[in-house]
């Protein structure tokens, strides 16, 4: 017989519940916004049919360009600059993507009070550090050089 010893901890259950609800919400949003995007119901910053086209002066179509070349060629903002374009069909999709990518931070923040209440100091520190690491990654502060 299984007993209480084999059951998941309180923080593990809370984490799982938030992850589950957030994942389905983000995924559903992603599918809905993608349908809006490909249906053309909202104008796109870069129309989807343009992606396969080769711009003048380039040897490759837009989608074969490196990310930084693509951004330059189509005047696309980096970092959180996409939020200014969230009303466009293509960038509307980024809301669902950002929700899926942001869920883990939310889960960590939700379990922090439980870890503090349990006086689980090492894991409180680990959780705070993880939130800091993910927030740094999400912030857009980090820039990639070498181009």
């Amino acid at each position: 017989m299984s007993n209480d010893r084999t059951k998941a901890s309180e923080e593990q259950i809370i984490y799982a519940n938030i992850l589950n609800k957030g994942m389905w919400f983000g995924l559903a949003l992603l599918v809905i916004t993608f349908i809006i995007y490909i249906s053309g119901a909202l104008p796109s910053h870069v129309p989807i049919e343009e992606l396969s086209k080769t711009p003048p002066g380039s040897e490759v179509p837009y989608w074969s360009m490196r990310a930084h070349e693509f951004n330059q060629a189509l005047n696309i903002p980096t970092g959180w600059g996409w939020t200014a374009l969230a009303g466009k069909g293509d960038y509307l999709n980024f809301i669902g993507i950002a929700i899926l990518a942001g869920l883990t931070i939310l889960c960590y923040l939700a379990i922090l009070p439980i870890l503090i209440r349990k006086k689980d100091t090492p894991y409180v520190i680990i959780a705070i550090l993880e939130v800091a690491v993910l927030a740094l990654a999400a912030s857009g502060i980090l820039k990639v050089g070498g181009h």
């Binding site: 980024f94 999400a138 050089g145």
Partner: protein, 324 residues
């Protein structure tokens, strides 16, 4: 008994054949279009590519489940090798594909206490920090260098898959000081034995050091990292196989999150690639799970190894500009 086997074969074999044909057909189609003169605009309507991508990722989703690998490890070399998209966008999509799969599996694994939060949190901190560095390195490197390194990594994964042994219940003579002080241990119900299994880990410092490398590779190539997580957790640190597999899957939801943000912030995410891929892989995985429940086709594992070998060679030769 024999009748059941025949019945199962009748269900599974056609699906496998269809899967192989689908992958082969789209790979040939995709590579033909991809090597078309780049100066000309694509002759293929834009909607063909997301559709082809959906079909391919659906098949990859089936194969990934049956072959016991994550979707990302198949996605990046195959889509990167045979589709016209730049490797930057493919890696960004690969991370999101692996992330979505991990997010979908995570809640169930955590609730069943197979994925362990106590084991995951320290490991995830190391791996996700390293994945940021990996993502930044990967986006700064030239595409041919990325392809060479990706090809070499995929061939290394093939080697691991073909040779690495797994241990259901590794012996941990004594937990190390670090795992003891962090309380990394647990108990889970092993239904096949009808008893509760207590577990702990050892060699934690070495394991954590290896997760620096795993994190960098996950971020650099957008592969997910289950292929490396499981051997380290299981064979090195001594976690039971079920705990290792489940914790590895859950870990990807944290490791890939940090790298995915870097790709997102650098504009290396195209919804036209990401959404059909996520939906395709997830639907394929659901079908794969149903097929897996009926049979355990070991041959599939070798087919996946063959597919990875091919994709790894393709990436390597593409990087070396031998097979453009």
């Amino acid at each position: 008994m024999l009748f059941n086997k025949l019945k199962t074969s009748k269900t599974v074999i056609p699906l496998i054949i269809i899967s192989i044909l689908a992958v082969s057909a789209v790979a040939v189609f995709a590579s033909t279009e991809a090597v078309a003169p780049p100066v000309a605009n694509s002759t293929v309507a834009w909607w063909v590519w997301p559709l082809v991508l959906f079909v391919v990722t659906f098949v990859l989703g089936i194969l990934a489940v049956l072959g016991g690998v994550g979707g990302g490890v198949l996605f990046v070399p195959i889509v990167g090798g045979f589709f016209p998209f730049n490797i930057d966008f493919v890696r960004g999509a690969g991370l999101l594909v692996a992330l979505a799969g991990a997010l979908a599996a995570g809640p169930g694994l955590l609730k069943r206490n197979l994925a362990s939060l106590r084991l995951s949190l320290p490991v995830a901190l190391i791996a996700s920090s390293a994945a940021i560095g990996g993502a930044m390195i990967g986006l700064a490197l030239k595409p041919n260098v990325v392809n060479i390194l990706l090809g070499a990594t995929i061939l290394f994964i093939v080697l691991i898959m073909a040779t690495a042994k797994k241990s259901d219940f590794p012996i941990v003579p004594k937990p190390d000081n670090l795992s003891q002080s962090l309380g990394i241990m647990g108990i889970y119900r092993e239904e096949s034995l009808g008893k509760d299994v207590e577990w702990t880990v050892h060699k934690t410092p070495i394991g954590l050091a290896l997760f620096v490398i795993i994190g960098i590779m996950a971020g650099m190539f957008g592969l997910g990292a289950g292929w490396a997580n499981v051997p380290v957790l299981n064979l090195l640190m001594g976690a039971p196989l079920k705990i290792s597999v489940a914790t590895s899957k859950f870990l990807l939801s944290i490791t890939d999150t940090s790298a995915a943000w870097v790709y997102l912030n650098q504009g290396a995410v195209l919804p036209m690639i990401v959404v059909p891929s996520i939906v395709g892989i997830m639907l394929g995985s659901m079908v794969g799970v149903k097929i897996l429940a009926k049979a355990k086709p070991k041959a599939i594992k070798w087919m996946v190894i063959g597919l990875l070998l091919f994709a790894g060679l393709r990436a390597l030769l593409k990087g070396l500009e031998i097979w453009k």
